[in-house]
Symmetry: C2
Subunit: 379 residues, 2 copies
């Protein structure tokens, strides 16, 4: 497993995966169905990312999860995937986790005649395409299935009812755009930008504060729901402590999105004000950010907190076309809501051209350790 | 409560509700969304029907459900609505049941400082419109919510994990059209009909046998899932022991559907063979049928098994237009799949005209006690 964390082959940067999971801001969701820009057909970067940490998660379950204790009162193990979006990644992750838990149980209780039963809760916003999720479920699953609609920044499950929670490429979506960014008189009014890449400190601080608030709500809800000794795994984009986001290769995506929109504003296709008032509710935390949130909550012990290479399994240079498709699958609705549907093709066309034109910048940006893995145990 | 069961005002017959819940045959479901023929806007007969039995269910919970025992190991009460379709009826039913259970707990454990937590599982076929269900959930619910995709003729939940199961206007949908009816050489080939109304004995027997098989699967799955002492409530169309289905007012719907299709076949709009090979997978059991199924399963005790007036709260004569809209909301997709979408408007137009033309027959048919209420306790 250690070879994954230290793998020296950064290829598709964290940005590839960073931008492609469903937003958790009100009623935003990844593209459903199975069309050209659907999340189902544009989420294979996330799959690579998940594979990179699979071994680490297996190791954590084997070493740290006391399955015998978890099932001492009932043989039902409840697993939740928080921000699951649509298949197939969530099905693979759940299958892997179930397999690791079963394996650990067999190690702990060899020859036991009890059979574990698994109930998997697939959670996402009510506006997620649960119809697609349910109709694409594998034909036979070794678990019982339930879908849970709701924001994971709030309570979703009864107290002490979840044994294992998983949250992959979802927590970087903030619950909302920071309030200060909506106020044109604030020093955090984000003129000419759509993200905190290359933004003044006030903007960065507003994003960081919103992330801290969201994490506080998230952890407090999970602390109530997860049984003592239960485990939570968080996988998300990350950035080394102290590094500025503009050094990360993925920042080019936001920078060129903003400049594409600004070009369009200068040509009169949209207004500058529309650009100034739009901000992507996405934050990439450092291990330090995450540690602070967990310490503040106080109800989890940190078993793993590390940055790794998200796309160590993908070979070659950044595939710009695929990257843009992925970003589009996850973000399109948010743009359409703000700018209207007519200009979105235009923006993505311009964005793609800019990324190709500046592909050296994209490929030379920092992309080594941009995936954060956090494994927590409920105290 | 007794006044409900003996209410002498049968107005919208069991047929009104009988025909309007989602079919459980493969991938069939009620109309989603909120358009003119959506189930959401065409399921108020079911609401009346549910209200009629609400008092009986409350009484059964108060008298027969040992809530203190159910929550002796955990304060989480799991309720399942099997074949829930889309809102709002299922939300109302779940709210009522939760209220009755909480009330019984307060009676049994006055002054207890434990707070019950409720988890409600909304179950229906994977093709049900769960997106509509989830986005129309009441803003605040006193329960946690999960959707469970799958046929209730099979296992849906872990062993001994459900405390209360509810199944309203769903079990009359057979899991499939009886096999014999698909074979043109069989004596049960249902020429010129689409249901067992006025059909030869072989056809009726094929339907009855399929219902018995489905009930066996349903009860065996539920026996595994419901905890000892847990309750199951079934509400569905019913018919007095020994009565022929053609005496029931609701049979006019099937009879005139068939004759509308046959008229269209004679005019060359569809083929006769299309009509002969189409059969509605709907069966209306007698209390005797139901008792036999429960006895055969052997794992439930029968607390209530009775016929009541489904639409006692609806005043006046049958509202034919509304009835047809309700039937359309639940059945349209099944017709479209078999006959294609083009002829369905035509059939429903003809059906409506026939029902108006023969409204005396509709209004004079038997409609007194056509709703079956079954309350079972898991032994």
């Amino acid at each position: 497993m250690a070879e994954v964390a230290s793998d020296p082959t950064p290829l598709i940067s964290g940005g590839g995966s960073e931008s492609v999971r469903r937003p958790l801001a009100d009623s935003l969701h990844v593209n459903g169905g199975d069309g050209a820009y659907s999340y189902t057909r544009n989420s294979y970067f996330q799959k690579f990312a998940a594979n990179v940490v699979k071994g680490r998660i297996g190791g954590a379950i084997t070493m740290k999860l006391d399955v015998e204790k978890l099932c001492s009162r009932s043989n039902i193990i409840c697993i939740a995937d928080l921000g699951c979006a649509v298949g197939p990644n969530t099905f693979n992750s759940m299958q892997d986790i179930l397999h690791f838990i079963q394996h650990k149980y067999n190690l702990q209780c060899p020859g036991s005649d009890r059979t574990l039963q698994f109930l998997v809760f697939f959670n996402d916003q009510p506006s997620n395409d649960f119809n697609s999720l349910f109709t694409s479920l594998p034909r036979e699953t070794p678990y019982f299935t339930a879908g849970v609609p709701g924001s994971f920044h709030r309570r979703l499950f009864p107290e002490s009812s979840i044994h294992f929670a998983h949250c992959s490429y979802a927590l970087h979506w903030l619950s909302r755009v920071p309030e200060e960014l909506q106020d044109r008189n604030s020093s955090a009014w984000n003129k000419g930008r759509i993200h905190y890449t290359n933004a003044p400190d006030q903007v960065i601080q507003a994003y960081a504060a919103q992330f801290a608030k969201d994490m506080a709500n998230f952890l407090s809800a999970r602390a109530a729901e997860i049984v003592n000794g239960g485990m939570m795994v968080i996988i998300m984009p990350g950035i080394p402590n102290g590094m500025s986001y503009s050094q990360v290769a993925a920042s080019a995506m936001y920078e060129f999105m903003a400049s594409s929109f600004m070009d369009m504003a200068h040509e009169g296709l949209i207004s500058e004000d529309e650009v100034d008032s739009f901000n992507l509710p996405i934050y990439t935390p450092s291990p330090e950010d995450m540690e602070a949130a967990v310490e503040k909550n106080g109800q989890f012990s940190i078993e793993i907190l590390e940055l790794s290479n998200a796309a160590a399994l993908v070979d070659g240079r950044v595939d710009i076309k695929a990257w843009v498709s992925h970003v589009r699958a996850a973000n399109e609705e948010m743009f359409v809501k703000h700018f209207g549907g007519d200009v979105i093709d235009e923006m993505f066309d311009r964005l793609t051209k800019k990324l190709f034109m500046f592909s050296e910048q994209v490929n030379s940006g920092y992309k080594d350790r941009t995936q954060l893995l956090v494994v927590l145990i409920r105290k």
